[in-house]
């Protein structure tokens, strides 16, 4: 074994250990519980679950809702990506930032916003959509249209306009230019965005749980119900495996779709909006309204008590709610959330940086390349495994020495860091991968040691993406619900958990507090993401 390979493995050791202990072990433990119920391999009970009519219905609903939501998100996102990234108009940056807000909103907040909007007393209650599959799909679209705009818009912005102009001078109308030149060039980005959105939709937890209850369940919420309420662990394990298989297959497909003929990129000046842009502009306004209405209705709802404007819901955030619905005050939960997010952030960024360094270094030998490829896939695993599975697995495996972390304050941040890890890695990898290795070779040939060359070559381009990745991880941690709902201690809940609990308790004050707490959480995450947006790192949210 040569020295390079040894160095690679040494660098990879820490993240492999972290992901191994805190991810593979718990998920494995969860699966073991299902397939080895009494220590003996007895998969029968687990496999039986897959034949239940409810399981088939849940799987069907998962795929159907994800497919419909993905289609709608792509159809709405494409014209908006064009308008926001290809044309110029006043307040473009503001509109762009506004449309990205849903992307970072905690899922619970989105769920609350849609219930407030579509509920019987809500502004759109007359549509009778509350509790229907349509509401779930709308929620999923709301959450994911930003992903499409971001990924496709980024690709569209860098697209060389001259290919389209060449087609136009050859007689292609704008529609024909789009169909024959622009769309083929965008296809990798669209496929990539659609896959990620499908993935997010198929594993969505908070939205489905708040909007669908027990009537409409996806695999993810079903795993939650099976473990927490029914306590049928083998069934939950079987569903986890099913989900893992589907998601890994999707990730492989997404990876394939990304490998395409290089598209020539050239920065281009955004065009002034013209009358020919009528259709995309109308679609963008629709998206804007679609994004703004639930948020406005949420904020408006939080400011009303008994049909009158009031700040009472916000004043109540310092209390534990009507009939002591909570163990701690909402403000205390916010403090908990922030403290947890700080820990989760340094863990995710530290691990993510090591991972990014490992997978982007240029390989010299086939063995090295294969090892790197394996590691790359390994570190993406948390993206594919349900947060619920992870949370439950952590709970049941890390309960005995030497790893008895059940009461440790670090367990929740660890789980959240693992959820955020793939996103941090995806933010850093394109930047690190974009550095020409010859720059480092030039530094080395001028006498710089390995550390020195990192300082002169990598750090100057990396610090902004690092900060952006940290902010991203922070926002993800603030909103994380699936894993946290298992792991958080009763006396140390985070804000999303408190919101969910308030929703489950009767009483108008509790509901009003849930709205106000959602606004508070949304404002906090939006603030963090606005700071990230200011860094203008394009790889944030690029998958």
């Amino acid at each position: 074994m040569n020295r390079r390979l040894l160095g690679l493995l040494a660098l990879a050791a820490v993240p492999v250990l972290v992901v191994g202990v805190f991810f593979v072990l718990p998920v494995g433990g969860m699966l073991a519980l299902g397939f080895w119920p009494d220590g003996d391999f007895a998969p029968g009970a687990a496999l039986e679950v897959l034949t239940r009519s409810r399981t088939i219905r849940v799987l069907g609903f998962t795929l159907w809702s994800a497919a419909v939501a993905t289609t709608v998100a792509v159809l709405l996102g494409l014209p908006a990506a064009y308008v926001l990234h290809r044309t110029s108009f006043p307040l473009r940056r503001v509109v762009r930032a506004l449309l990205l807000v849903p992307f970072v909103l905690p899922t619970v907040v989105v769920g609350v916003a849609f219930r407030q909007l579509l509920g019987d007393a809500g502004p759109l209650g007359f549509l009778g959509l509350d509790g229907t599959p349509v509401a779930i799909v709308l929620g999923l679209v709301f959450f994911n249209v930003a992903v499409v705009i971001r990924v496709v818009g980024g690709a569209w912005e860098g697209l060389d306009t001259r290919a389209g102009q060449a087609a136009a001078t050859l007689g292609a109308s704008p529609v024909q230019v789009f169909r024959t030149v622009t769309l083929p060039a965008l296809r990798p980005a669209v496929t990539s965005a659609a896959t990620v959105v499908f993935l997010f939709c198929a594993t969505a937890f908070g939205i489905v749980l708040t909007l669908g209850g027990t009537r409409y369940a996806t695999i993810e919420t079903e795993i939650y119900l099976l473990t927490v309420q029914v306590f049928d662990l083998s069934a939950a394990a079987a569903l986890s495996v099913l989900q893992l298989v589907v998601v890994v297959a999707l990730l492989v497909l997404a990876q394939r779709a990304r490998v395409v003929a290089p598209v020539s990129r050239a920065p281009s000046r955004p065009r002034r909006l013209s009358r020919a842009d009528g259709v995309p502009v109308a679609a963008t306004l629709l998206v804007l309204a679609f994004v703004a209405i639930p948020i406005v209705s949420l904020v408006a709802g939080s400011l009303q008590v008994d049909g009158r404007w009031s700040l009472q819901n916000y004043a109540a955030l310092g209390t534990t709610g009507d009939r002591d619905a909570l163990q701690v005050t909402v403000t205390q939960a916010l403090v908990n959330s922030l403290r947890t997010a700080v820990d989760a952030t340094w863990m995710a960024v530290g691990t993510g940086l090591l991972v990014a360094l490992v997978v982007t270094r240029r390989s010299r030998a086939p063995v090295e390349r294969r090892v790197r490829g394996l590691l790359d896939g390994f570190f993406m695993l948390p993206l594919g495994v349900s947060a619920v599975t992870l949370g439950f697995g952590l709970l049941i495996t890390l309960d005995q020495p030497p790893l008895d972390l059940r009461d440790s304050a670090l367990l929740v941040p660890i789980a959240q860091a693992l959820v955020a890890l793939p996103l941090v890695v995806r933010t850093l990898v394109p930047v690190l991968g974009g550095i020409d290795d010859r720059q480092r070779q030039a530094a080395a040939s001028l006498g710089a040691g390995p550390l020195r060359s990192v300082l002169t070559v990598d750090l100057p381009v990396l610090w902004k993406p690092l900060l952006a990745g940290a902010g991203f991880a922070f926002a993800v941690s603030l909103g994380e619900f699936g894993a946290t709902s298992f792991l958080a201690r009763e006396d140390f809940p985070t804000l999303p958990l408190v919101i969910f609990r308030l929703l489950g308790h009767p009483g108008e004050l509790n509901y009003g507090m849930a709205l106000a707490a959602s606004v508070l959480l949304a404002a906090t995450t939006a603030f963090v993401m606005l700071l990230v947006e200011r860094l203008r790192v394009t790889s944030v949210g690029a998958f």
């Binding site: 060389d160 001259r162 290919a163 102009q165 060449a166 087609a167 136009a168 001078t169 050859l170 007689g171 292609a172 109308s173 704008p174 024909q176 230019v177 024959t180 030149v181 083929p184 060039a185 003929a261 290089p262 598209v263 020539s264």
Partner: protein, 328 residues
């Protein structure tokens, strides 16, 4: 016939193309020659309908095309780097415009075009596998496919290396003449302009400073700067110009431009100069001469005579290699 009247294009208030008027009769090739950044590519894009005019008009056969969208103008623009569609094969690139128009017998026409540009049997290749010269040939075939009423060429050869450029320039001229295509070419290379065009317009800082049949422009540059840009080696003014013109036996004038070979070493020459440096080339000996009253100038000597630095030589002036310049 293409007519431009007072065409002005501005970016952020700064005019890039300033009050340009041009005429291009059918079947002719016009080269717009100018240094980089003079606005010639912007002019081309404006004609194609890719830039908005601030003022002026662009007309074809007397009909204004200003409000006609790019894809309806029937002017095809061939980009500097070809802009082939990388996801389509060579044949599909060439047949692109034909397919848009649902032209029958498409395969035969594509094969003809590939023959015309000297790339038969390239149809199934992808653009990524072609060399720079091949890409430009494919781009040319694609541009000619629909027999555009006007072909716009943006520095079609400048991305290629020198030898290839010369060969392709000759081919381009031949193809344009054979297909009787009206074409407008912009370039910064006067050799390319001479090789391809019938007419020449010289552009500087967004303005057309001179235009006409190519030989006329070349023989009578409008001013010193134009002369230097057209490949003249030096421009003399006032007394120096008068002395040189007298030595050449030409009528007097305020200024004169001379080519590098205008002075030739000859025992009976009327001028004398001291050799500053000399360099052997395959065709002749190139000299720098210090001629009293004229300054340091280029000159040539036949290969059998090779004067060294410091030598005094007599030179004669070849009147056909001079160009008088009106009031510099």
């Amino acid at each position: 016939m293409l007519s431009l009247r007072g065409v002005t294009v501005a970016f952020d208030g700064e005019p890039a193309v300033d009050d340009v008027s041009l005429d291009l009769p059918d079947g002719q090739v016009l080269a717009v020659l100018g240094p980089s950044g003079c606005g010639k590519s912007t002019l081309l894009r404006a004609i194609a309908g890719l830039e908005q005019l601030r003022s002026g008009s662009i007309a074809w056969d007397g009909r204004d095309v200003g409000s006609v969208a790019t894809h309806r103008r029937g002017f095809v623009l061939m980009f500097q780097d070809g802009q082939l569609f990388d996801h389509l094969t060579v044949a599909r690139n060439v047949g692109y415009a034909l397919r848009l128009r649902r032209v029958p017998d498409l395969e035969r026409r594509v094969a003809e075009l590939l023959d015309l540009v000297g790339l038969p049997s390239y149809g199934d290749r992808l653009p990524g596998t072609l060399s720079g010269g091949e890409r430009q040939r494919v781009a040319l075939a694609r541009s000619l496919a629909v027999e555009p009423r006007l072909l716009l060429l943006d520095e079609p050869l400048s991305a290629l290396d020198a030898g290839l450029r010369e060969r392709l320039a000759a081919d381009l001229r031949q193809i344009l003449v054979a297909s009787a295509t009206t074409a407008l070419l912009v370039t910064h290379d006067h050799e390319e302009a001479f090789a391809v065009a019938d007419r020449l317009a010289v552009m500087r800082s967004g303005r057309i400073v001179q235009q006409g049949p190519i030989a006329d422009v070349w023989r009578r540059p409008a001013d010193a700067e134009t002369a230097l840009f057209l490949g003249y080696a030096a421009v003399l003014e006032g007394d120096a110009a008068a002395r040189l013109l007298r030595a050449a036996g030409a009528p007097d004038g305020p200024a004169v431009a001379l080519r590098r070979s205008a002075l030739a070493v000859a025992p009976d020459g009327p001028l004398r100069g001291r050799v500053v440096s000399s360099r052997l080339t395959p065709d002749q000996v190139r000299l720098r001469l210090d001629v009293p009253g004229l300054g340091e100038l280029d000159a040539v000597a036949p290969l059998d005579r090779h004067p060294g630095p410091g030598d005094e030589v007599a030179v004669r002036v070849d009147g056909t290699r001079l160009a008088p310049i009106p009031g510099a």
